[in-house]
Structure formats: C-alpha cells, structure tokens
C-alpha cells in the first residue's frame, strides 16, 4: 500500500516482507528495514526500527487515514488509493469537514456570547458562538455557508467537546 505522511510530497510504499522470531522485515519507500517489536496493543506500539526506538500511539485509524503520535510528534498518514483522492479537510477548531449540518465545539467551555441569530444566512468563517475555556475566549466559526437553522446553546451554558452548538443547512 502507498502512504502519504503529513505534508510530504513523496508517497511511501510500505509492506511487511517476513517475520522471524525476533524481528519483522519491512520494506518502506524502497528500503528494507528491520523492526523489533517491544510492545504492542490495539493503539500503542513500541519498536526498534533499524536500531532506533520509536513509540507510536494510534489516535484514529480509518480505512483512508490514520492519525497517530509518533515519538511525541502528531502525524496524519493517508492511505493512498483512488477512493481517498477526495480528502477530507483536516478538522479544524469549531468546524467539521464534509457536508455535516452540525456545528460542533472542538473544546469544552462556557458560552460567553452568541454572535449570530437563528434564521440568518451565514458564510463559512462567520463567528457563531464565543466560548471561554482556561480564561481564554475562543470564537467558533461557521464551518460552511448556509442558513443558521438553530442555535442549540444558551449564553452561560457549559458545553463539552463535540457538543452540537448550532445547525447550518
């Protein structure tokens, strides 16, 4: 399979060649590497790759994309195929990708201001709600153009991560 790591232009082809008692032989980007597995779980792996230790934590694993933290470094790896050519935008604060009608909060916080009115037409990037967390104010912006059907929160309310704040259609 081909992998696109982060913003790197180059695609890396990766495959397992064979496994021996202690090691796994892999081929990545045309080069053979020896991999020694130290710890493995569903989402966490520790291994020595060509004499260097790595710790990987898989945050999200889909058929098209894997989000992981490797040695403290967050990375998104796209599994490359025709189907995944249409890539989702990286989910950004206060917005979600795709055609979802729900505007969700990416942070937990308290609603300190509602900046738009239900029923109004909004443009992507318009501030809908302002949240406060850790003594900071964070504007949650419309994730797409559309009509602001409903605002689901009230001033002063506490919202959790991923709570729906508003509906835009």
């Amino acid at each position: 399979m081909d992998f696109k790591v982060g913003d790197l232009a180059q695609l890396l082809q990766g495959e397992v060649l064979r496994t021996t008692e202690n090691n796994i032989l892999v081929k990545i980007g045309g080069k053979e590497h020896t991999l020694r597995l130290l710890k493995s779980g569903t989402n966490e792996f520790e291994f020595i790759l060509d004499n260097t230790f790595h710790h990987a934590r898989i945050l999200q694993s889909g058929s098209a994309e894997v989000k992981l933290v490797i040695d403290g470094q967050p990375l998104t790896v796209k599994k490359h195929s025709k189907l995944t050519e249409v890539l989702e935008k990286a989910s950004a604060l206060g917005g979600v990708g795709g055609g979802d009608r729900n505007l969700t909060s990416q942070i937990p916080g308290r609603v300190v201001n509602i900046s738009a009115k239900a029923g109004a037409d909004v443009k992507k990037g318009d501030v809908i709600v302002v949240l406060e967390s850790m003594k900071m104010q964070v504007a949650v912006k419309a994730h797409k153009d559309g009509n602001l059907k409903e605002i689901k929160v009230k001033q002063g309310a506490s919202v959790a991560r991923n709570d729906v704040l508003a509906v835009i259609e």
């Binding site: 992998f3 790591v5 990766g14 397992v16 496994t19 980007g29 991999l35 990987a56």
Partner: protein
C-alpha cells in the same frame, strides 16, 4: 506591625502546581499543609499531597477558589493559622488580607494597603515619581486639554501613545509620531470618548519600541529590610502573556543589576511593601529602564530566581510572614549560573493557542542534571477548562546561558504529555533559534523573527524524520489486527517474541 507568631499550619487558597509548591515548602518546615479543592479537582495532585484537603465548592472559580467566605470558614474549621494565596485567584485582592486579619489568621503576602496602591497603576506611578523611581514618560493623570497633551508629548519625546481612560486591553490606543498628528488624534479620540462615555479622558505616554520586559524579584520584611534577588527577563510573550523567563537577562551586567535593583528596592519601600513581590520594568534599546508596576504576589516564574540564588522563596515568604527578619544582606547574594523557564501551557501553538483540555492518560516528566519541573500533571490526571492553561513549569539551570539552553532543549524532548496539545513544540523551536541564542529578545520577538513559521517548518522537518516509523506503525497495526483478530490482546503478542535467545 512586626508580628512574630510561629506558623504551624497553612491553608493554601489555590490549586495546581503552585499549591503543590507551597505544600512542599510546608513539609520541609514541618508545617501542616491544608488544601482546598473544587469538584473539578477532587483527584488533583495537591489534594493527594497535602496533609489535609477540604472541599470548597463547585468547579467555577467564583464558587470555589475565589470564594473568600468559604475559604476563611474552612481555614478556621481546620485550625489554620496562616493562608497562602499562591498567584492568581485571591492573591492580589486587597480585601483578602483584611479578612484574614479580622479572623486572626496571617495572610502570607503584602498588606492590604500596599496591595491597594500597587493595584492602582496611576496612584502607584505617582508614588514612584515621588520616590525618584523612573517611570514611562507621559502625563501624571488624565488630560482633557490638547495643549497640555502636546506639552507632555514634547517633554516625553515622540512617538507617543494616546490611551483612553475607558479603554483597556489594547483598545482605544492611538499612536502619534508628531505634534501635528497628536493634535488630530487627540481631537478624534476625545470625540470618540465623549460619544461613548460622555467624557473625554486620555493619558499621554511615550511609545517605547522593541522593548524588553525585565523584572526584579523583591522581598521585604516587617522590620523594613528590603532586598532584590536580581532580575528575570520575560520578554518572550504572546499577547502580553509571558512564555519564557530567564535569569540573568542577556543585557543586564552587574553594574546595571546593582543600579536597577537598588531602584526596585526603593520602589518597594515607597509603598511599604511586605513579603515577596516583583518590580516590573520596560527596557528600551538604549538601555533605559522604566518602572511599570509592582506585582504584589509570588510570581509564576519565581523558580527562575530560586535556581540562580539558591533561595527558597516560599520558605522565605513564610519566614517573613511570621515576623522574621530576612536572614541575608544584599551583598551576600551572588548570581549563580543561568536559569530558563518555559511555561508548558495546555494550548495548541499550531492552532492559535486554542485551549486544550481533557484527560492525560500518560505523561513523562523530565528529570536529570539541572532540570526542575513544577507541575500538577501525573499519569491519569485531567487538565480542566475551568482554570488557567499552565500545566507545568519546566526549568533548566546551567553554569551559563548556553548550558541551560541545551538542557532545556533536551528536557523538552523528554517531556511528553499524552491527550492534550501543549506549547512544547514552540519552545523547541525557540531554544534552537539563532536570535534567541544571541539574546536578541524583545516583547515582539515572536512576530519579529517569524517564530511561528519556523515552528511549523520544524514540525514538518520532524514529521519527515518520522515518516518511515509512522508507516511502520501502521503496518504493525494491520499485522496486529490480522494476527490477533478483531479484538487483539492488550499485551505484546507472543508470536513476535519480545526476548530473543541471543
């Protein structure tokens, strides 16, 4: 007002790393430490380490760590004979020391009176001018007349700032490069102010460019002995929030240190200051220092000073609070090496410093030669959105700046915090950055040297270095799922033996 009552128990009216810091000082002194906790902090580390811990209220600060009545009630019930406010929360609320006093408890900090003066910038400035402490040139108070404004501006020298008395946080500030511009801006600003507040009220102040933020740690006892514990340079800031502090400052030599330190002590005397505090100065590129304010509390960055002086500021605070004299003279102090502090905030530097809260399933706190960490983090803890974003203070000491810097750089690599985003990547970039290494600092350092662009490049570079390992991880995961089925075991698979036969 030289009390001399031996403190035997202290209620800590705070949370997080500073609560833990005070608990440690109490334990060293054999003083009972009494913690308070909100609903959000039931499992916080300060609850675990204190001798006693009392529930103070719901998560919201107003109902917990800012709830003076409740806190004093707990302190009385627990038999505390002193209260340490930490920083933030009630630490600079002048009503709190008064309330402690009324209830027969020692407030570990300045007097209400000193707090009142230092808390009012214009009043404080007036007191300082009287005491010949240099302040930023400008008007002594509100100016309503354009002629007076022009007069003040001519004395201070252009460019000047016009600041609305009703503004704040950067709003209502206008820049004037010449008298002509001043007159225009003054009229416009007055009109605006009159329209909005029914009154024109403006200050005129010299506009200082490319300034450094340099502050002096102060201590003063109830016998009138004042000392400065050298400077800290805190120029690396984002939106007036300090990110990195260090001592010594790269631009302060011993002569300057003695001179400005003496001024700082004089500033403390001018307000009859008590206990630990900080005199903040701005320094312009010509080397002029301007007093701006006294922070009437122990500061976040106090460990920087502890590392270069060897003093324990919290223990010193407690000694002063129980009426002792400061046990050293100014000339006994010697700057030893260099210390740097990075504030590890739960904010995403790649996304406009958005707050990042939640569970921290695991973390690795760095240690080793020259490294100190003050933190409330532990594996399995939670970073709450109810309180500020400071999760840890990472400090590195070295015989000189460069040794401290490389130790900091290495400690940043060792510091891992799962589950949340932090400012660690920003500091990695800064520690490697040539202008930082040269000591070319100013409050606009981040913008001036395009540090965020560099940080993004560094992250990309690091990602590149991890590309093969990332692909290997994904291969491992799919192998794992293949061999282990849909529900793979949490332990290492035995198929791939962990230990070889040699």
């Amino acid at each position: 007002m030289a009390m001399s009552k031996k403190i035997t128990s202290i209620l800590i009216a705070n949370r997080g790393e500073i609560a833990l810091r005070v608990i440690r000082a109490c334990r060293e002194l054999g003083i009972k430490s009494i913690a308070i906790y909100s609903d959000e902090d039931v499992r916080a580390v300060h609850v675990k380490r204190a001798d006693e811990a009392y529930h103070v209220g719901p998560a919201a600060p107003a109902q917990s760590y800012l709830n003076m009545d409740k806190i004093v009630e707990i302190a009385k019930a627990a038999g505390a004979d002193a209260i340490h406010p930490g920083y933030g929360f009630l630490s600079e609320n002048e009503n709190f020391p008064e309330m402690c006093d009324k209830n027969g408890m020692i407030f570990i900090g300045p007097t209400a009176k000193a707090m009142e003066i230092t808390g009012d910038k214009m009043k404080c400035k007036a007191v300082m001018k009287k005491a010949h402490v240099p302040t930023v040139p400008g008007s002594d108070g509100i100016i309503e007349d354009v002629e007076k404004a022009a007069d003040v501006a001519n004395k201070a020298g252009y460019p000047v700032l016009l600041k609305s008395a009703f503004g704040g946080g950067g709003r209502g500030i206008r820049l004037a490069n010449s008298e002509k511009q001043l007159r225009q801006e003054f009229e416009m600003a007055s009109a605006e102010s009159r329209a909005a507040f029914g009154k024109a009220a403006l200050f005129v102040e010299k506009y200082l460019q490319r300034i450094r933020h340099i502050e002096f740690q102060l201590v003063r006892d109830s016998h009138g002995n004042g000392r400065h514990l050298f400077e800290r340079e805190c120029s690396i800031q984002r939106r007036h929030q300090k990110l990195i502090e260090m001592s010594p400052s790269p631009v302060v030599d011993q002569k300057t240190r003695d001179r400005i330190g003496e001024i700082a002590v004089r500033a403390a005397e001018a307000v009859d200051y008590l206990n630990a505090g900080t005199a903040e100065f701005l320094r312009d590129p010509e080397g002029n220092f301007y007093f701006i304010e006294i922070n009437s509390r122990l500061q976040v960055e106090h460990p920087v000073t502890e590392l270069v002086t060897g003093l324990d500021l919290v223990k010193l605070q407690i000694a002063i609070a129980q009426g002792e004299e400061i046990p050293f003279k100014q000339e006994d102090l010697k700057m030893n090496g260099c210390a740097i502090e990075c504030r590890i905030n739960a904010e995403d530097p790649f996304y406009e410093f958005a707050p990042s809260t939640g569970a921290v399933p695991n973390c690795n706190i760095p240690y080793g030669p020259g490294v100190r960490v003050d933190t409330y983090l532990y594996p399995g803890c939670t970073v709450s959105g109810y309180y500020d974003s400071l999760t840890a203070k990472l400090l590195a000491w070295g015989r000189n700046f460069d040794e401290a810097r490389v130790r900091m750089r290495n400690a940043l690599d060792e510091f891992t915090i799962d589950g949340i985003n932090t400012t660690i990547p920003l500091y990695k970039t800064i520690m490697d950055e040539s202008n930082f290494i040269k000591g070319d600092l100013s409050t606009d350092y981040l913008d001036r040297f395009k540090i965020f662009d560099k940080m993004n490049e560094d992250a990309k570079e690091r990602a590149k270095g991890k590309a093969s390992a990332a692909v290997a991880s994904i291969l491992l995961q799919s192998e794992f799922v293949k061999k282990g089925g849909a529900q793979p075991a949490a332990k290492p698979v035995s198929k791939w033996k962990m230990r070889g036969t040699g």
